[in-house]
């Protein structure tokens, strides 16, 4: 192995990519600790904007939005995980059936359809069937588009579980239900956890679809931030953004660690 350094020009190119990717994030994180009201001039280290997030004039609005985001993400991720597990079981363990290829494409289609199209379509659909847009429509939309994100790690994990484990359980007098609960489910757990976490982050983070189907007066954290930024960027937005980033990193890391631990046991 010669290593990546062997290729001339790779190092500067890599550094350039990293800077483009992460410099804005670093700026936002750094300025969230800014002591001044300016968003460009450094006024010394301070936690005042974090205090402002929780106690300032916008605290109520952001608090409600954060609560909405969190509850929607929890419910959407949970229901998407249940549905994705059922889908993965059918796709991976269900043997051959008619329309399997089409089903697989359908499950994963939302990953490829432009989000704006899904957003418009969701809004038209909700209006057509007479649903009032609000918390409920956001929840339904999130449940739907989270499914493929939960499906991918669950199906991948399931593919790695040999059919002989279930057969061995059945051979040793377990009913179908017992074999599922005592053998397949524990083996599938790391996939379920990372699927759930991924769906949770995707829901928490969603802006475009949410913005279309949320209705008037209903806000999630991303739409609230966007609404606030329209009237000019205040440093408290940077604090909120940094907090969201921290939550995301925490969850993604957890998903990664859980999956890695799961893969160690054969």
């Amino acid at each position: 192995m010669k290593g990546v350094r062997y290729y001339p020009g790779f190092l500067p190119l890599t550094v350039l990519c990293l800077v483009i990717l992460y410099a804005p994030l670093i700026v936002v994180m750094a300025y969230s600790f800014n002591g001044s009201t300016s968003i460009t001039k450094w006024g010394g280290f301070s936690l005042r904007w974090y205090v402002d997030v929780f106690t300032g004039p916008d605290a109520g609005r952001f608090g409600q939005a954060a609560w909405n985001s969190l509850t929607i993400a929890l419910m959407a991720a949970t229901s998407a995980t249940v549905i994705a597990t059922a889908a993965a079981l059918a796709m991976v363990k269900g043997g051959r059936f008619r329309g399997k290829g089409a089903s697989f494409a359908l499950i994963n289609l939302p990953l490829m359809v432009p989000e704006i199209v899904t957003a418009v379509a969701s809004l038209i659909f909700f209006t057509a069937i007479g649903l009032t847009t609000g918390y409920g429509t956001i929840l339904v939309a999130h449940m739907a588009f989270c499914i493929p994100f939960a499906f991918l790690p669950i199906a991948a994990r399931l593919e790695g579980i040999e059919g002989s484990y279930e057969q061995a359980a059945r051979d040793l007098y377990a009913t179908r239900a017992q074999a599922f609960r005592l053998i397949l489910l524990p083996l599938l757990a790391p996939g379920l956890a990372s699927g759930w976490l991924l769906a949770f982050i995707i829901s928490l983070d969603d802006f475009i679809i949410t913005n279309f189907v949320k209705g008037a007066g209903m806000e999630t954290l991303p739409t609230a931030i966007f609404g606030s930024v329209k009237q000019g960027i205040k440093p408290n937005i940077m604090a909120i953004s940094t907090l969201m980033l921290a939550v995301s990193v925490l969850f993604v890391t957890a998903a990664y660690l859980i999956n890695r631990k799961g893969q160690k046991t054969p």
């Binding site: 040999e162 002989s164 484990y165 057969q167 061995a168 359980a169 059945r170 051979d171 040793l172 007098y173 377990a174 009913t175 017992q178 053998i183 524990p186 083996l187 046991t265 054969p266």
Partner: protein
Amino acid sequence: MKSKMTTAIDIRDVVKTFGEVTALHGVSLGIADNAFFTLLGPSGCGKTTLLRLIAGFEDVTSGEIRLFGESIARLEPNRRPVNTVFQHYALFPHMSVIDNVAFGLKMQGMDLPARTARAGQMLEMVHLSDYADRLPAQLSGGQQQRVALARALAPAPKVLLLDEPLSALDLKLRQAMRVELKQLQEDTGITFIFVTHDQEEALTMSDRIAVMSAGQVQQVGSAQEIYEAPVNLFVADFIGETNLLQVEVHEVREGRATVTLPGGHRFACPSAPVAPGRHALSIRPERVTITPGADLSATVDRVVYLGSDLQVLVRLADGSPFTIRLQNAARTEVPGPGTRIGLHLEEGAARLLAD
């Protein structure tokens, strides 16, 4: 030994198709109780399918499987009192060794103290008592194999099914396990049905062997019967090493045939019931001796050193290749290449085969 044999498994006209493919073409077999029975055949011959039908992992397309007289062909696997040792063991990776062994007992509703005691006994039997609290991944392949055996035997099944359980082990361990498996079968008195493609494995362990090919049972018999009296070309070729020659058959009477070898040598030998014409003749290489002045003459091509044996590759008068095996004893005289020698066929060396 066994005087009056009870039939443990009775398989009648079992057909299994997967879509367009027929895996088993009407297989019928009787497997005696307290026997070590082997299903032997090349991959794709249907032996594993037959085992899976007995276990209940597949449904028969048609036919009947009886276990001590009771039909089990349409029962769910958890309702059949048979257990399986899987090829790659399929130990539950998230459970300790003792929990693996106790799993079947737990499913049968045995209470915790009783099943812990029984699982402990089973681990003692396979010499793994010290490993009870380990996870399967922390054991070697040979140890995992023993756990799989203990787990399958713990619920005291009426029949134990073994699906090529030795194939993942290295040679030394495999040879040791053969003896141990046979011992275990005799100690427990449980009928073992063992699937393998390794004829040496089959010959060393089995009371009876069913040789399978192309979804059909070709021959059932003891190791000796199958080796010494193969009924057809497939069995003769598959079991052991043999010389197969196309010969002219003049007459078949009372199980003996008069044949002429390609070189013109004419003699009589045991035969399957075939009509006169051209048929395959099997001559076992270790039943041929080099005898000066014998009727059948040959020329030595080369001698291959195999340690305990010597393989002498020769050509018959018409040029067809032929192999002889000699024991590498101190007084064995080894003919050099190019030497003309006479070959003597011992009684039972040659056998005429059905196609």
